[in-house]
């Protein structure tokens, strides 16, 4: 489906990003596995892709740092010669009730989860405009639509990503660059493992399909959005949440 396309997946050392990297590679894409901290886990993803006959490199860059982002894009183009798909997946949480949330925790989450999407998108635009084609897939969250207590920073960032997706889609549509967002619900990852059993039980009550999502459920939608099958889809936010928010 993605034969010989080049994709950057941010935050690809684990969770949803990892699964997207692996499934894009399986579909024939060359992958840049971006990560910020866990070098070992990024290396594992690269090894797994290469072992299965794919092609991947890892690149350490904090998405909220413009010069690191630019260096990553440059290396991608030098190494693979083009850049067709960007998946803005990197994200962090610093949950707390609004009254107890520090300014630093608010800023840090906005920096990575929202500004990071802006910086990576800006940096790939030039190459995609030249190629007159490209796909940008932003991983938002269903809480960016519904709100969620204890996540003022995260929700603000994820709602911001949806607005950014729509604006970018409109600006870049004349150059055949399609920009969409995915809003996952409750997906089993490291990030959701940290929730207490009580929190998990409460969430399950809200999900009509009555189960957690798997990272593959999200990767499958990302694959669709990156593929030719989504040629007429842009500016959309697709929820992958088991019906949690309608």
């Amino acid at each position: 489906m993605l034969q010989d396309q080049v994709a950057i997946v941010t935050g690809a050392s684990r969770g949803i990003g990892r699964e997207i990297a692996l499934s894009f590679a399986k579909s024939g894409a060359k992958i840049v596995v971006n990560y910020a901290g866990s070098d070992d886990r990024a290396e594992e993803v690269v090894s797994e892709i290469n072992a299965n006959g794919g092609e991947a490199i890892k690149f350490k860059a904090n998405v909220s740092n413009e010069s690191e982002v630019k260096a990553m894009i440059k290396e991608t183009i030098t190494r693979f010669g083009s850049l067709d798909i960007l998946v803005n997946n990197a994200g962090i949480t610093k949950d707390n009730l609004l009254m107890r949330m520090s300014e630093a925790d608010f800023d840090e989450v906005i920096d990575v989860n929202l500004k990071g999407v802006f910086l990576c998108t800006k940096a790939v635009t030039r190459q995609m405009m030249k190629q007159k084609s490209g796909r940008i897939i932003n991983i938002s969250s269903v809480v960016g639509i519904s709100g969620n207590p204890g996540q003022a920073n995260y929700v603000s960032a994820k709602a911001g990503v949806i607005g950014l997706t729509k604006t970018t889609a409109k600006e870049l549509a004349p150059r055949n660059i399609l920009v969409n967002a995915i809003a996952p619900g409750f997906i089993a990852t490291d990030m959701t493992d940290r929730l207490t059993d009580e929190q998990k039980e409460q969430m399950l009550k809200l999900i009509p399909l009555n189960k957690l999502g798997e990272v593959l459920d999200v990767a499958n939608v990302a694959l669709f959005l990156a593929s030719k099958q989504a040629n007429y889809v842009t500016g959309q936010t697709i929820q992958v949440d088991g019906g949690m928010v309608m």
Binding site: M129, K130, P174
Partner: protein, 77 residues
């Protein structure tokens, strides 16, 4: 000057699909050559590649006529 102008003219003609005689030094990209803002951004990118220069965003915003582009290229090469 003449050399840069000829090259810029060629790029503008190709990129914006306009008649060569419309591309004068005084011609405004947006008003006279019917470029939209994305066209201008692309044009600037192409000039950067062609002349092997880097045009900062602040400077790029000031380029509104063909002459502005030619002047910028001549003083930064």
């Amino acid at each position: 000057m003449a050399d840069a102008f000829e090259k810029v003219k060629q790029i503008v003609v190709d990129r914006l699909d306009v008649d060569e005689d419309k591309v004068t030094l005084e011609a405004s990209f947006k008003d006279d050559l019917e470029a939209d803002s994305l066209d201008v951004v692309e044009l600037v990118m192409e000039l950067e590649d062609e002349f092997d220069i880097e045009i900062a965003d602040e400077d790029a915003e000031k380029i509104s006529t063909v002459g502005d582009a030619v002047n910028y290229i001549n003083s930064n090469q």
